[in-house]
Amino acid sequence: MKLSPLSTLAVLLALALTLASGLLQTADQWSARAKSDNLFGMLFGDGRKLFANQFFTMADVYFHSGYYPSIFDQGAAEEKEIISASHGKKENEADEKNEDFLGRPKDWIDAFGRNFRITQHTHLENHNEREILPWLRLAADLDPQKIETYTVGAFFLREHLNRADQAEAFLREGLRNNPDSCEILFELGRIYHESYHDQNRARNVWQLGVKKFIARPGAEQKDTRLVFEELAVNLAHLETDAGNYAAAIDWFKAAQKVSPTAYALQIQIDVLQKKLAAGPPLSPPKLP
């Protein structure tokens, strides 16, 4: 039997199409990588987490306008300031001094070379904080399980750029990728409490955060005590503002168990206990 080239081509095309349509369903199950809904995940596999860390560091570099220690300098491994800033930590003079990683010039080459390097420790301000966002977005795309990316990004969007809607959307995305993260729930609660002034939703979200924390294994709880303290203290303040002093005292007592500043919390508990003993707070007068 002799087949013309065109007939051969037609037969091969028909075969290819038949196989493609037949195998499409099963081919999806062959590789776990093909299931990835993230382009970066498919391209880099787990190696993408390395890039994500690098991009997260880039956000910190931008926050310092380029004044940043290299891997060869002292202080390169310290906690990133965008993280501590998102926890409300303000720098004092000692911190500033610690971050002078350059020190005195080592020789004339180093001294002259500093003319061409950024040698001033500054932080982005006046809405220029937006410049760190592309790196956080990329870090989140590369490693959706890196929780700090969402909390730091949302903090700067909400606190410095007045973009609570974008912050909430970013956190919701983080929550979809990390449903058990009490850190993301805490930050989400701050948006409801501080930006939207929706105390009920803030309370619900923070209480859910506490539940997620309690469900964590013991070792993990020990490493992430700070978030529990933040959740409990914020819930305590929320209950105080609502006049629920007994609940507020309970939350302060819970926070005391993990807080390094238990004495300061005790002062607040004492104040609340006096208020509680004095009777229920006066309800605000109704507006006409």
Partner: protein, 259 residues
């Protein structure tokens, strides 16, 4: 001097006849424009990452253009045997070296102007400011650094067998200096002897190309570098360029061109 300029003119013509520059420029432009079009959190005022990416591409492209263009100059003349009529003009071997250097340096200068003009246009259209002083300093320092690199490549092209090996070795050396130049002393201090002494000598003996990288000043809007420092750095670049050209001439003077 006219012979040197005539030789330089030929090199410049060669650059715009070859496709290297156009390919790299189009690639830089496409990647920058693509990066600039990405929208992060619906905020169209974010611009520094575009500057960062664009300047990195400009640095890589300019380095590739300078190294590749220079590395093939003398080997190509020898291979095509056009070096003999050139030297019979009469043009001295020192003039050939000077002409080739000047041509490559001016050609990369023209490429740099085009690249930075594109950079200013793209970033200026986003943030509506044009800090021309900072741009001029950045271009000048970049061009001064390329003078050292071009002289280094010319020297390499005299001693190494092929343009490819010259290009590869020079790119590795330049990248090494740019990445580690500032930190070499710190690394040296952490090493046991005799490595500590060797690295310290290397630190003082190498051309500090990293000084000429003013990208951070442009990206983070940190103003101008003092003009006195720029002037001294220019003198330093001139000194290193002179050293490499002199060494290249010494090698080329005794070079047997027939093999």
């Amino acid at each position: 001097m006219s012979k040197i300029f005539a030789l330089a003119g030929v090199v410049i013509k060669e650059l715009y006849r070859r496709k290297d520059f156009y390919v790299l420029f189009v690639l830089t432009a496409l990647l920058t424009l693509a990066a600039g079009m990405v929208n992060f959190f619906h905020d169209d005022k974010i611009v520094r990452y575009v500057k960062d990416i664009c300047l990195l591409l400009i640095w890589v492209s300019a380095l590739v253009i300078a190294v590749v263009t220079t590395a093939r100059q003398i080997p190509a003349e020898r291979e095509a045997r056009t070096i003999f009529p050139l030297l019979a003009k009469p043009v001295s071997r020192a003039q050939v070296i000077a002409g080739k250097f000047l041509g490559c340096w001016l050609a990369t200068g023209v490429a740099l102007v085009v690249f930075y003009f594109f950079f200013a246009a793209v970033t200026g259209s986003k943030e509506q400011i044009w800090p021309w002083g900072a741009y001029l300093e950045a271009v000048w320092m970049h061009w001064a650094m390329l003078a050292i690199v071009i002289a280094m490549v010319l020297l390499g092209s005299i001693y190494f067998a092929a343009p490819s090996s010259t290009s590869t070795i020079t790119l590795i050396v330049v990248a090494g200096i740019l990445l580690l130049g500032t930190h070499l002393k710190i690394i040296a201090l952490q090493q046991p002897e005799p490595m500590q002494t060797i690295l310290t000598i290397g630190y003082f003996a190498m051309p500090h190309l990293e000084w000429y990288d003013l990208r951070d000043f442009v990206v983070y809007d940190m103003g101008l570098v003092p003009l006195r420092a720029v002037g001294l750095a220019t003198l330093y670049a001139a000194a290193w360029t002179g050293i490499f050209l002199l060494l290249a001439w010494l090698g080329f003077r005794r070079k047997n061109l027939t093999t």
